[in-house]
């Protein structure tokens, strides 16, 4: 392995549990396995993986194993199947055997989600969904001894299902599960019992996976992901560059029907018509649907990180209209800047986070939307209070050093168990027979 990170032999201090006992963890060789990877890839789970990889690389030797795809719909091979460096992390890409056939995928989805079917159909659905890369799975099997642990991202894809199945004793799973029908597929019930530990994004996600696995005896922890908060975001520069004068609420993310944007547009237009409010709505991110044509709606498009933070800093509050979220990173970023959040209350995760943090309001219908928007717009003290709670919640749970410590604690737990089981130390020379047995297993 030629991963990125500290030298072998370096140790990390890990605080164990709430009692604060300390132990040391050697620097490990980690492989993070994800469906797509790269700076140009902006999916939630993929971005999550990139951030985790870059932060764990401070403590361990990290490598990323992924596909050559960039597009999450077709999974076409667009990047070369080679090893390269992305932000100091070694990334190995593997070819997707075939891109997604929309017709075939549609038919098998129909069968799997709407009709009686067998487990075999669900496995076929997994293949048809893509990215179907048996080459990646072969690599994992062949090189299992080269890594101490494998961290698989997104349970719903081929690489996670077959990767975890092949390397159960060395795998951690970051499910990034949403509340949809996929989690209820039969194949995932035993699957969730396979990994050594599950890294949940939220309490609600853990609850959902417990219920899908029909067990609460799954090892793991609620970890999530952190955010790098810039020191001095410049809202004035953003305002002057985009000529925005009015106060505004902000939406950051893909402007997409699946993210609840159609409903947001509908509600916002009605709110403006009924109240005559001067509040604007700024949208930041790529788009897959028409943006509402309204003088108070401003579509800023895809912005650089710096500009995105500036836009967020200049807003009154963030709106998260999505119903399907396993963890909204932009919500955490908003709290990091002490900005309150207005979330879709039909999303259990967002609603739960708002309730636990006391840092956001939520709506489940138009009337609640109108009242909450009006309240957040008019009541500065409420805004500041919610924002302050958000900042505190972020500092306690989502600062990067907290997240890194949680990952290290999990890894230390696995390492301790392995030592107790007397698993072959990773640096010990392995004979031909041992290597053959490892490959055969």
């Amino acid at each position: 392995m030629n991963g990125s990170g500290p030298d072998h032999g370096q140790t990390i201090n890990v605080v164990r549990g709430a009692k604060g006992g300390r132990e040391t963890l050697p620097s490990l060789r980690l492989a993070l396995v994800v469906q797509r990877y790269g700076e140009e890839v902006n999916g939630g789970a993929e971005y999550h993986c990139r951030l985790v990889a870059e932060h764990l690389a401070k403590h361990h030797r990290v490598e990323v194993l992924t596909s050559c795809a960039k597009d999450y719909i077709t999974w076409r091979n667009e990047l070369p199947a080679e090893s390269s460096m992305v932000n100091g992390i070694r990334v190995r890409r593997f070819k997707v055997k075939r891109p997604r056939d929309a017709d075939r995928f549609g038919r098998i989805s129909q069968k799997v989600f709407r009709a009686p079917h067998r487990e075999q159909d669900e496995l076929q659905w997994l293949e048809e969904q893509g990215p179907y890369s048996p080459q990646l799975i072969r690599f994992l099997r062949k090189n299992r001894a080269e890594y101490d642990y494998f961290v698989f991202f997104s349970y719903r894809y081929y690489h996670s299902y077959h990767g975890v199945s092949a390397l159960a004793d060395r795998s951690l799973l970051v499910p990034t599960a949403e509340k949809d029908e996929v989690v209820e597929l039969k194949i995932f019930r035993p699957f969730f019992h396979l990994p050594r530990a599950i890294v949940f994004n939220s309490i609600e996600e853990r609850q959902m996976i417990w219920s899908a696995a029909e067990s609460q005896d799954l090892k793991g922890d609620v970890v999530g992901v952190g955010a790098e908060v810039p020191n001095h975001p410049s809202p004035d520069i953003f305002r002057s560059r985009h000529r925005i004068r009015d106060r505004y609420a902000i939406f950051i993310g893909r402007v997409d029907e699946n993210k609840g944007c159609r409903q947001l547009f509908h509600y916002f237009r009605r709110y403006k018509d009924e109240t005559g409010s001067s509040l604007g709505l700024v949208l930041v991110g790529g788009r897959t649907m028409e943006v509402l044509d309204h003088p108070s709606v401003y579509y800023a498009g895809f912005l650089s990180e710096e500009e995105k933070w500036s836009a967020l800093a200049g807003s009154e509050f963030l709106i998260m209209p999505s119903e399907l979220e396993s963890l909204s990173m932009v919500t955490l970023e908003s709290w990091a800047l002490a900005k309150p959040v207005l979330a879709n209350g039909l999303c259990d995760v967002l609603r739960g986070q708002c309730q636990r943090s006391n840092a956001g309001l939520y709506y489940t219908n138009y009337y609640e939307f109108r009242e909450t928007v009006e309240l957040l717009k008019e009541d500065r003290r409420l805004r500041e209070g919610l924002g302050e709670n958000g900042r505190r919640f972020f500092q306690e749970h989502y600062r990067w050093d907290v997240i890194e410590a949680k990952y290290n604690r999990l890894l230390a737990m696995l390492h301790r168990e392995d030592q107790a089981r007397g698993r072959v130390p990773r640096d010990a020379p392995r004979g031909l027979f041992q290597r053959w047995r490892e490959r055969a297993s």
Binding site: N358, T372, E374, L382
Partner: protein, 231 residues
Amino acid sequence: MSTFSIKGSDIDVESVMATIRSRIEEKRKGLYTEEEVREIAEMKLDSVLDASQFNSDFVAAFRARDEQWNFTFGPETIYQSSRGLAGRLIRLARSVLNPVLKLFFNPNPIISSLSRQADLNRYYVSLLHNMAVELTKMNLELTNLKARLRATGAKVEFQTRREKVLEDLTTSREEAGSGAEPSGRRRSRSGRRPWRRRRGGRGDNDEKRQGGSERSGSGGTGGNDGGEKSG
């Protein structure tokens, strides 16, 4: 507008939401909640839909015949049989003979179209249902608006009558206050408005009319005014 007194850590989102909900309740008192609208939409919609000759039981009837439209058509459907054990054998035989069947015609496009049709059916039912709900909402809103219009009309009528009564009251008080003056002269003073006291222009005709009426009312005592204008 806020009724919340807040210090950062004092905020309890649930209590803020409870206040918001009660505020919504207050504002929407007398109006139907979303759930109620949905319930009403599920009921007979004759009163709403009769005008357009639409059978309000249509959605319900359509839903009652579930198996007729809510079917799944997969690649295996055309080989299925419902005759128990014999059916399984028949199905097996049909599957085995499938390659022979494919020599005569290709069943795949049929399977594909029927599968899509099944999707479409579900989609149409959902649309139909949503349309019925929306229509009900519109009807309720219309009824509500009509009621408000009626109430506003009644208020306007009341205000007009009140204004008239008050005007009469003022006039009679003024009359009582200056009892010595001849009634015609007093009438002309109180009736005349300052912006009409100018020569020519639009006010002239009014003034003439006013003067005329005064003349006819008081038997020539206001002749001075009338003469001045018409002269």
